[in-house]
């Protein structure tokens, strides 16, 4: 009777040990998976930042005063306003 309770105890301990070992492996795998995700996300962030900067550069180049002035005069026939034609809106 006493021997059987020992076996039960050892079995439980072994199972706990096995569970902990598996948990450790599982946790490590999860860490790796999250590590990959983080790495990909960081790369994506870097790429998107680059794209944003490219778009900002394009926006600035398209809205440069020289280009707007040229478009305004050549395509729309506009000219710079005289001082009395300027109305200020608050």
């Amino acid at each position: 009777m006493q021997g059987s309770s020992h076996w039960v105890r050892y079995t439980v301990l072994a199972l706990i040990g096995l569970f902990l070992a598996l948990a450790q492996v599982w946790t490590r795998l999860q860490v790796m998976a999250v590590g990959y995700t983080l790495s990909n996300t960081r790369q994506l962030l870097y790429t998107l930042r680059g794209e944003r900067q490219e778009l900002e550069a394009q926006w600035s180049a398209l809205t440069t005063p020289g280009r707007l002035g040229e478009q305004a005069s050549q395509r729309l026939g506009l000219s710079a306003p005289q001082p009395e034609q300027v109305m200020r809106m608050q």
């Binding site: 790796m32 960081r42 005063p65 109305m87």
Partner: protein
């Protein structure tokens, strides 16, 4: 049975013992060494260089930034045998000639650049060819979205993102940022695993300039027009804020595109406004006048005999452009008489005059935060003879940079206080927090405040109908300024027979100075006088700049007869900003006063004009034509205000 169990158990026990012993060997005895080996295989050390910081104008407009690029390289030994067939496609992809590509591919070196700083599209096209032996590295490319605008001031960076000229050079340490070593794990396939978390690499700092891109554009455009129409060799415009000495615009013609700086000669990439001194001619008479008035050696109404155009000083004869007899000192300035100025200079004396010239910053660097500044040329007082004093009185024999001269005028516009000019307002980190701020730096008082005010009044006469600078007049704005026509020094040290610099420096508005503008046109072919060549350029730049800054415009017009106090026009976004918040009392509709106008059917512009004429405040929503109007009390001022609803013409126009 029992024996078998014993044997089996022993075997298992021995096996387990062996495993345990290996475990102990790996985890205890050799743990340090194995951990190091593993780390060297898993961990990758990367040197991360941040993208170069951006440069903004004072309003946050991007002037320079770094964008991703890929540098394509070739390992010739690894190229496929049939690579020759792909050369035309490769050349087309990177916009190079087939000859260049062939030379690169046939190189005997183990590593050759195919194209540095290729665009993402070029890199993608090369990758699509699927050639082994051709690969790429992520790099950055400096881009200046406004092209040549403010190029000499901005400078440029080289292919390795190192600032070489202008702000790029002086603030390189901030813009470049610091490289950092980052350790990251990688798997057997070389993929990175951020198992230890994300270590964000440091970002470079950004720089905000004092420049206003719109003013810069006005200056550049008008300068280029003037250089073209007069057939001039070159030209410079500087706009300075006299209250802070912040540089608002600095333009040159000819200029260059910093996106492709190698396309022009080295001298075009220089910044002549701070590097190239010239003899300022009559514009220097203003500094003489400031000194003379400050020392009380002359009063504006004092009469000076101008020798009918010829004044003998030793063996030299001084000439005026027109012969004058008696002129008041104010008229000497107005008509820019050399002889009148020479006589005032002699009254002042060389020591005193030099003291003031140095006080105005001549003969020394202004200390602006740009590279290669010249101190100009102001010989020591002991080396000045009488003729040197006389010629220096009308701006000969003294060399100044355009920046020095505009700074001296700015001191007059700033109640006589001289300050340090600057072009960088702030250095910001990636979150927009200020890391370093360049605040206006007051240096010293050159002349008394009342002297500066009196002089500005005299300079207003220069721009009057009889003055040399009448073409600089702006309707509704008081302008003070001075014309200058200076002879250029030739290579032999004498004066050039034909080389002239026509210039004008103006202060606007003269009663409350906000801008000091220098215009210098180098060797114009259609004339030589500053009043004829440079003053009209000043007039356009000043007018547009003042309108842009809101200093002139509709509010400057004289009020119409019978109109009440000036109106504040409120429209568009302002109505949203001024909307009452949660819990605020909704304004009650007020009865329109008798004779109040109807805005129905008007365009926004017509409505604003009507409101202005009648002294009414308006607030608008929508766009197009006015389809509805109510009168409410303004929650802020409790005054009646029209609330207009606008709709587009296609929707409804009553």
């Amino acid at each position: 049975m029992k024996e078998r169990l014993l044997v089996a158990g022993s075997a298992i026990g021995v096996g387990l013992l062996l495993v345990l012993s290996r475990l102990v060997q790996f985890t205890v005895v050799q743990s340090g060494q194995l951990a190091r080996q593993a780390a060297s295989q898993h961990n990758q050390r990367l040197i991360f260089t941040p993208r170069r910081g951006a440069i903004f104008d004072r309003n946050g407009e991007l002037l320079a930034l770094s964008i991703p690029a890929e540098s394509l390289f070739v390992r010739p030994p690894k190229l496929p045998v049939n690579v020759a067939a792909q050369v035309p496609a490769l050349a087309e992809a990177i916009h190079a000639s087939t000859q260049e590509v062939n030379t690169t591919l046939r190189s005997l070196a183990p590593f050759v650049w195919l194209k540095r700083q290729a665009t993402p599209q070029e890199a993608a096209q090369v990758r699509a060819l699927g050639l082994t032996g051709i690969d790429s590295l992520e790099t950055q490319r400096r881009f200046y979205p406004h092209g040549p605008l403010a190029a000499p001031l901005l400078g440029f960076a080289n292919i390795d993102a190192q600032g070489l000229e202008g702000v790029e050079r002086v603030y390189d340490e901030y813009l470049r940022g610091e490289s950092a070593e980052i350790v990251q794990e990688r798997d057997a396939l070389g993929r990175s695993i951020l198992a230890q978390g994300v270590e964000l690499p440091p970002e470079a700092l950004n720089v905000r300039l004092t420049l206003d891109i719109d003013l810069q554009y006005f200056a550049q455009r008008e300068l280029e027009k003037a250089v073209q129409t007069t057939g001039a060799r070159a030209g410079t415009v500087i706009i300075l804020d006299p209250q802070t000495f912040a540089v608002l615009a600095l333009a040159h013609s000819p200029t260059f595109d910093p996106n492709n700086p190698k396309s022009v000669a080295d001298e075009v990439r220089r910044d002549p406004a701070i590097s190239d001194p010239y003899e300022p001619g009559s514009t220097l008479k203003v500094l003489l006048a400031a000194a003379a008035l400050d020392m009380n050696v002359v009063r504006p109404e004092d009469q000076i005999f101008c020798e009918l155009g010829h004044y003998q000083v030793g063996k030299y004869t001084i000439h005026d452009h027109h012969p004058y007899g008696w002129l008041s000192f104010a008229q000497v300035l107005q008509h820019s008489s050399n002889i009148g100025a020479a006589k005032v200079g002699e009254r002042l004396g060389k020591e005193t005059y030099q003291k003031y010239l140095r006080g105005f910053g001549l003969g020394q660097k202004t200390g602006i935060d740009l590279p290669a500044e010249s101190p100009g040329l102001l010989a020591p007082v002991k080396d000045w003879s009488r003729i040197n004093l006389v010629t220096a009185s009308f701006g000969q024999g003294v060399a100044v940079t355009p920046l020095q001269l505009v700074s001296a005028y700015a001191a007059l516009a700033n109640d006589g206080v001289f300050m340090r000019p600057y072009v960088v307002q702030e250095v910001l980190n990636a979150d927009g927090k200020v890391v370093r701020a360049n605040s206006p730096q007051r240096l010293w008082q050159v002349v008394r405040s009342d002297t500066a005010h009196r002089l500005l009044q005299l300079l207003e006469k220069v721009v009057e109908k009889e003055g040399t600078g009448w073409r600089a007049r702006i309707a509704g704005v008081r302008v003070a300024g001075k014309t200058g026509t200076s002879q250029k020094v030739n290579q032999n040290g004498g004066y050039s027979a034909h080389g002239r610099i026509a210039s004008f420096i103006g202060i606007v508005p003269a009663d409350q100075p906000r801008l000091v503008i220098l215009v210098a046109i180098d060797e114009p072919k259609t004339g030589v006088y500053g009043g004829a060549i440079a003053a009209p350029v000043f007039q356009v730049i000043a007018q547009q700049s003042l309108a842009r800054l809101g200093i002139i415009g509709d509010q400057e017009r004289p009020p119409l007869p019978g109109a009440p106090t000036p109106v504040t026009l409120t429209a568009g976004q302002s109505s949203a900003r001024r909307a009452p918040g949660r819990g605020a009392t909704i304004p009650q509709a007020a009865a329109p006063p008798a004779g109040a106008p109807s805005f129905l059917g008007m365009s926004l512009r017509e409505a604003m004009l009507t409101a202005q004429r009648n002294g009414w405040r308006i607030s608008t929503t929508g766009s197009g034509y006015v389809t509805g109007q109510t009168v409410q009390n303004d929650p802020e001022t409790n005054e009646p205000m029209y609330v207009l609803t606008l709709a587009s013409a296609t929707e409804k126009r009553p």
